[in-house]
Symmetry: C2
Subunit: 148 residues, 2 copies
Amino acid sequence: MASAPPRPTPSLLYAVKRLELAIKSRLDEMLRDSGVTTPQYTALTVLQHKDGMTAAQLARDSFVTPQAMADLIGALDRRHLIRRSPNPANKRELLLYLTDEGRALLDAHAEAAAELEDRMISGLSPDQADTFRTALTLAWTTLRPARK
Amino acid sequence: MASAPPRPTPSLLYAVKRLELAIKSRLDEMLRDSGVTTPQYTALTVLQHKDGMTAAQLARDSFVTPQAMADLIGALDRRHLIRRSPNPANKRELLLYLTDEGRALLDAHAEAAAELEDRMISGLSPDQADTFRTALTLAWTTLRPARK
DNA sequence: AAGTATCATCAGGTTTCCTGTCAATGACTG
DNA sequence: CAGTCATTGACAGGAAACCTGATGATACTT
């Protein structure tokens, strides 16, 4: 009886996870005195690019449940880093916006974050880095559940 | 005064995190009735490749603190999926080994995990997949603290 | 022999996730 | 236009995975 074919080491699944943990570890150091956690900071950076999202959109985008995102959003709101305002066109939606304070926090760490990102791909050629970026997004897209 | 140069969207940092969350979400489904969590399962797969590690090595490899790893290891031990036995050559080390039960659990999910992994890179050419794998490991290595 | 680093573990705490449930709103359909 | 269904945001409750800080025992270094 044939055993399963050998799989490369380490598995891709684990390779992604351990890189994510490595990044988290570095961001934790960077944000140690900032008053926000790494997931909170990450949510802020998403909002920076897509101001006016709803928490539900953000949750889907990040692959977490709406409840998990509500925890994050709530913490950011309490710290006045974002504000929630009702969508005039859709009464049940709350749109999320960065506050000046939130923008200031992002600015304060933008340089260090950029350096971290550059360092992460410092061993790759520009072409390889490009493929890396593409692959990360493509793999994420592939794993998304189908939405009509 | 010049503002910071524009950064690609989404940031690499976020791209890694959201892919990791996507994978976690799929593994959660896969493991729903198995009695182990995704992080626990992941630790088991590492042990599968490197039987006889210590918890401290595993923690460094995974970029978490020894205490965080002790939580995971303790849960796996209580479920008899691994066993800890003292290293004869070093009395303060406890070596970790998969039990038959642990191996059985891995076998039970090996196929589904392999499919998930294949699906994840199904949009990439073999060359791209190779670059992807290399980049993940290289980036992780780059972020590791220097160790003598 | 003394000092330093590493291993495992205890204690205590926070955050991030989850499942389940709910009312209100909007969209679709017969 | 009434009925159904999906979606949004929220509440309650709970589990897991992380963290910092500290401790005793063992190994390594000088």
